[in-house]
Amino acid sequence: MDELCTGLCQLLVESGADAGLAHFLSLLVGVLLVSGIPLVTVIVLIWVERKVAARIQDRIGPNRVGPVGLLQTIADMIKLLSKEDITPTAADRVLYNAAPLVSFASVVLIWAVIPFTPFHFGVDLEIGALFFVAVASFGTLAIMVAGWASNNKYALLGAFRVVSLLVSYEVPLVFALLAPVLLAGSMSLLDIVNAQTGMWFVVLSPLAFVIFYVSSQAETGRAPFDLIEAESELVAGFNIEYSGMKFGMFFAAEFLHVFTNGILMALLFFGGWMGPLYYESPLIAFAWLGAKGGLIYFTTLWLRNTVPRLRIDQIMAFNWKFLVPLSIANLVFISLALKVMQELGVSPRNLAEAGFVELLPTTVVLLVINGAMTVYLLGLLRKRGQEARRESMAARAALAQAVAD
């Protein structure tokens, strides 16, 4: 984006504009170009989401407006425009109106640091990986504000549950995020992708990817962690008092967040735009990133429409007693193994610049460690599952006995 800015800047300055103004205008054009991508994507995403959900549930989904229902979202938007927007009298008006804006903005802002191709990106921040976690915390705050400002018990209770879920799952998410940062030796997303030239990080630390995947599913409030829309327990959750376009914005933010996470996982673990012929043209690189992100996005939709919702105590226990210890152990094992191998000279000092062949011994060792951990964990989960089953059988037997008596 830098080249474009300077080019546009010069053009504007030559045509007699003030230098500061020219700089600002070129920044603005850059922002509009970068943010245009998520904004256009979200319109398509709503259609994709509905279509995929429909197919999984053996329905057809939207198919009337436009070819295969592609214009359905546009029609829905026009309909939403004509909907009355009710603000409850008891609500805190300023915060009530600000919450959906912050919620959507927090997701769009992540796209400022996403590199689309090796040369096309908004900015490449030194702290890119931390930036998107920090920005996402605005989304958490927005949910809390929405629940509080609605002045409704269901909304507040829903907001509290969701927020405690979101902050809890942020812990394994960030610990998993530390794995690619450690392997690349940088927090810049561009550096992280470039460091995967030798080997994708999903091969070097598959468990980190799995942890990241599960906790980002929770961060977006998707099943099996969809406390955000616990219709049966909390009527709807934090957004119960919202209607019309403001309600729509919460949903647009959620849809976009899921896809954004898909793209982020493609960047962090699947080598971003890397694929055959990516260096030929930025378009091919962009297509690779889109394809990888889209595929991960599709699996999250698949998961969402297949699994049932967990209870809040189960969700919390799963996070704090399984994911968090696992993510810490994963980080410890990876960093320990790498350090030992680096000291022995088996593994290159700088992983980011190592090629495929140099990385092979490292990869094999890390894969073995990850495999061993997975086998152990599966055994652990199996034991826990058997215990739970035995308990529930015993409870059922006791109940049957009580009924018989």
Binding site: F24, L27, G30, L32, S35, L39, M77, L81, S82, K83, E84, D85, I86, T87, P88, T89, P100, L101, V102, F104, A105, S106, V108, L109, A112, G122, V123, E126, A129, S150, N151, N152, K153, Y154, L156, F160, V167, S168, E170, V174, L178, V181, L182, G185, M187, G244, K246, I312, D313, M316, W320, K321, V324, P325, I328, L331, S335, L336, L338, L351
Partner: protein, 120 residues
């Protein structure tokens, strides 16, 4: 200069980001019908009337999760520079980082043993 230029971009982006969702809301505000009445804008319109204050006392477990999260949040913040500097770090620094993680894992296990992680 370059670094600040990057952040100027983020700044403009941050100003513009809430404008995008605000636009459709404002357009909707121009077109939408306005027929408010007392019942419609009451809290939880179609349900039973709310009794008492909305700010009821919440359970302490939310606060405990919040606190544990805060502790881990600060820990993760310290670990990011550690992870970034990993390749150039001396063995001593590496062990120091390990000790740091170990101490906090300790706290997690303490919480676990005291049943502070259970949703009650």
């Amino acid at each position: 200069m370059n670094v600040l230029n990057e952040w100027a971009f983020i700044g403009v982006f941050a100003v513009m980001a809430p404008v995008f969702p605000a636009l459709p809301i404002v357009i909707a505000w121009l077109f939408r019908p306005r027929k408010p009445n007392v019942l419609k804008s009451s809290t939880y319109e179609c349900g039973v009337e709310t009794i008492g204050d909305t700010w009821v006392q919440f359970r302490v477990q939310y606060y405990i999760y919040g606190l544990i999260f805060l502790v881990f949040d600060v820990e993760m913040v310290f670990l990011f520079p550690w992870a970034v500097a990993y390749n150039e770090m001396s063995l001593f620094g590496f062990v120091a980082g390990f000790l740091f993680i170990f101490l906090l894992t300790d706290a997690l296990f303490y919480a676990w043993k005291k049943n502070a992680l259970d949703w009650k």
